[in-house]
């Protein structure tokens, strides 16, 4: 993709964001996303929009995503539950944002809730499944929502109630994952063309107890779930939730009597700060039980090799990560990538499904 392709510029690892603070990154990416409202939303940008709606915490970036979504023709109905989730998330933390005028000098003439509800309204009758929730919010009275938000709610309810557009049949309603699957190379376990782990197998890593080993030692010989996080992540739906879900995954695997057969590994993006004691505390707080197959790891040297090997969606500011997407890989016993989950929240079931054939293969392999 050419460098000035706006979709390429949305990638977290883009050099445009290197060395910047998170606020800057949110503003730059938000400006791109908001611009799609007028220019039309390219299919490749849809995952970025849906990601903001699902887990975004920056009022500016989420409002921008809501605007960008309105540039999609048509707006996928699958965005509706994500819009409603975002509304719930910002219900107590609405804030003013502005997209007019030059960046940084604009008046903040709208709010994140207003933009989200406008996008619900833009769905027209496709927003019908949300009518109940919208009415409930409006009926909550002035104690619950601001006057500006009430006005948008009325419009959205009006738009959703109209029956001019043909109603979609039930078969059209699909999950959010399906909406972005088309635009993503590796949804739900279909492996992309990423090289196996053995190429970076000699990278030295340290676990939560201080033990030093190589990545190959941590990951080869058994199927693995490998994901990434850092303890200073401020988005509770990203790293904190990832590690908590990893712990649940671990418990479910144990119930299947598979716990000895699968590596559960999460690596920090921020190895200089995430010293072993921090890793240990972070995992323990979220219910992870450590063992030879279940570790939190930091590279003892720079993280660059791991980042570029997996083409991780992460950028770095002057002190720590400035932005990252969710990245989770399912690896076979030889460290080959058998599935990956990126950007959107993954479900434990989907990861277990991707692991199933690998566990079966590993169990029948002699000597394993």
């Amino acid at each position: 993709m050419p460098a000035d392709d706006p979709v390429a510029r949305l990638a977290e690892q883009s050099p445009a964001y290197s060395g910047r603070g998170s606020g800057d990154v949110d503003r730059l990416r938000g400006t791109l996303l908001a611009g799609f409202e007028a220019s039309g939303l390219p299919p490749g940008a849809l995952p970025f929009v849906l990601e903001e709606l699902e887990t975004g915490r920056s009022p500016y970036a989420v409002a921008a995503a809501a605007k960008g979504l309105r540039g999609a023709k048509p707006i996928p109905q699958a965005a509706l539950p994500l819009l409603m989730q975002a509304i719930e998330r910002f219900r107590s933390s609405d804030d003013r944002v502005g997209f007019d005028g030059p960046a940084g000098a604009d008046g903040r003439s709208t709010t994140v809730l207003v933009e989200l509800i406008r996008s619900v309204a833009a769905l027209g009758s496709d927003a019908r499944p949300a009518l109940g929730a919208l009415r409930e919010m409006l009926d909550g009275g002035p104690d619950e929502v601001s006057a500006a938000v009430r006005a948008e709610l009325r419009k959205a309810i009006g738009a959703a109630s109209r029956s001019t557009a043909p109603e979609r049949t039930e078969g059209d309603a699909c999950c959010a994952a399906e909406a972005w699957a088309a635009a993503s190379p590796c949804c739900g376990g279909a492996g992309p063309a990423l090289p196996g782990v053995s190429a970076i197998g000699d990278v030295a890593v340290q676990d939560q107890d201080g033990a030093v080993l190589t990545l190959a030692e941590a990951l080869l010989g058994h199927p693995s779930v490998l994901t990434f996080f850092y303890t200073r992540c401020m988005n509770p739906d990203k790293c904190s939730r990832t590690v908590a879900k990893l712990a649940r995954l671990q418990r479910r695997l144990a119930d299947h009597a598979m716990k000895e057969g699968v590596n559960i590994v999460a690596m920090t993006y921020d190895p200089a700060f995430d010293q072993p004691a921090r890793l240990r505390a972070y995992g323990a707080d979220r219910g992870l039980r450590f063992g030879p197959r279940s570790r939190l790891l930091r590279t003892t040297g720079p993280f660059d090799a791991v980042r570029s090997h997996f083409d991780l969606g992460v950028g770095f500011g002057p002190v720590t990560v400035n932005r990252h997407r969710l990245d989770l890989f399912v690896l076979d016993s030889a460290g080959e990538v058998a599935g990956c989950f990126e950007r959107m929240l993954w479900s434990e079931d989907a990861v277990l499904n991707a692991l199933d054939p690998l566990i079966a293969a590993s169990a029948t392999r002699p000597g394993s």
Binding site: Q85, E88, R91, S92, G140, F273, R278, D285
Partner: protein, 413 residues
């Protein structure tokens, strides 16, 4: 001949802690004299003069006497009696309250049991030893950023706002939160009870370098060298940001005082929780914004240890209101109010996040800290408390109490 006591709630080290809430204990004779069917024994206080005092009763009651006479059968069968801390006579140290059994005539002391009447006190009135053991335990819980305090910090964030604030569950949620923290402190030092900062009165003893620290001109809290909170760390950062908008020798301005707060719900005959709970704004919110720094915002307030003393006073005000207006029965509609809107986590039968471990919407997506800390003292409220379980904290209606009490809020049936 000896008298043996069996007091429920005794911990693994044989320690006993009482509040104002009576518990049923038993006494029995060991090696009784031959020939008699029973021995008349008197239970009495034998603690330090300034220590905790105990009251006894044959039945569960709102009052008791400093001595109690029991006829203990020579068969060794146990006789039950009720024991509680004497209101406004709490302990200052473990073992300064003692139950002694004396026999008839010259038989003398037949048995004794040292214990503690462990009560949450006004921070302004703590002895240096009480103060020091509290800050030492708090420092250990924080563990220079590596201790279990992290979980408490993670429980009180913007992401969990709707579980905790702006609704009728505000008071019960914070009651459970403080109890969880206090039990963790007691696991470090069992003689600790969480003190409260009475924000409507001057508290010069609180804002000292020996206790909660003194703020410098840039709003950083300073302690004496070696103070356990000197190494306080939260969110990967050292230190505490706090500046006072009031003179440390005076009380903050603009707060409803205690009497005004207690009268919020109406006169005792009709006092109702709904109007009382508006104290969440004033004095609670106003107490927070008497400071600059961490305390000023929901998302950072729990990074300052003073937060827990501030909230303990909020909880005490509720407890005092409950007692004064007799609103400890959850079945009484005036003891609590319907959630507005009908939000989960704020209704009587609801379990509370994060102790319930629920992470599906509308609850936050992670539940830090696991279940509520257990204690040998009582099995209430269990690992996953409900809103209802927070109401009758002294178990005035019977059953198990939560194991804490305030120095100015009595047990009364």
């Amino acid at each position: 001949m000896n008298v043996e006591f069996d007091i429920p709630g005794t911990d693994a080290q044989g320690r006993v802690f009482l509040t104002w809430s009576p518990i049923e204990a038993r006494a029995r004779l060991l090696q009784p004299p031959s020939g008699s069917t029973s021995v008349r024994v008197t239970l009495r206080n034998r603690g330090a003069a300034a220590g905790g005092r105990i009251v006894f009763n044959r039945v569960r009651a709102g009052s008791g006497t400093p001595t109690l006479t029991l006829d203990l059968p020579a068969s060794g069968a146990a006789v039950s009696f009720w024991v509680a801390g004497e209101f406004q006579r709490p302990s200052v140290a473990y073992g300064d309250a003692v139950i002694e059994a004396v026999g008839p005539g010259s038989a003398g002391a037949l048995g004794s049991r040292a214990l503690m009447v462990r009560i949450r006190k006004n921070a302004q009135t703590l002895t240096p030893a009480e103060r020091d053991r509290f800050v030492a335990a708090f420092g250990t819980l924080n563990g220079r950023g590596g201790g279990r305090f992290r979980e408490f910090r993670d429980m009180h964030t913007d992401a969990a706002d709707a579980e905790e604030h702006g609704n009728v569950g505000f008071l019960p949620w914070h009651r459970a939160y403080l109890l969880d923290l206090e039990r963790e402190l007691q696991a470090i030092n069992p003689a600790v009870a969480l003190p409260y900062w009475r924000f409507d009165r001057p508290a010069p003893n609180v804002f000292t370098r020996q206790f909660m620290g003194v703020s410098n001109s840039t709003g950083r809290v300073q302690f004496t060298p070696g103070h356990p909170l000197e190494s306080w760390r939260t969110d990967g950062q050292p230190g505490i940001n706090r500046s006072l908008s009031f003179n440390a020798a005076a009380a903050p301005a603009g707060l409803r005082n205690e009497a005004q707060t207690l009268s919020l719900g109406g006169p005792p005959a009709s006092a109702a929780y709904g109007p009382f709970a508006i104290m969440e704004g004033n004095p609670h919110g106003r107490a927070h914004t008497s400071f600059g720094g961490f305390l000023r915002s929901i998302g950072t307030a729990a990074r300052d240890p003073l937060f827990f003393m501030l909230h303990n006073n909020v909880d005490r005000l509720w407890a005092k209101w409950q007692w004064f207006n007799r609103r400890t029965d959850p079945a009484n509609s005036r003891s609590f109010a319907p959630a507005s809107p009908n939000r989960v986590g704020h209704r009587l039968p609801d379990t509370m996040w994060p102790w319930n471990g629920v992470t599906t919407s509308p609850r936050p997506s992670t539940a830090p800290g696991g279940g509520l800390a257990a204690t040998a003292m009582t099995n209430a409220p269990g690992a996953s408390p409900t809103v209802r379980s927070m109401i009758d904290y002294l178990a005035e209606a019977g059953g198990a109490a939560l194991g804490f009490a305030y120095d100015d809020v009595p047990f009364e049936m």
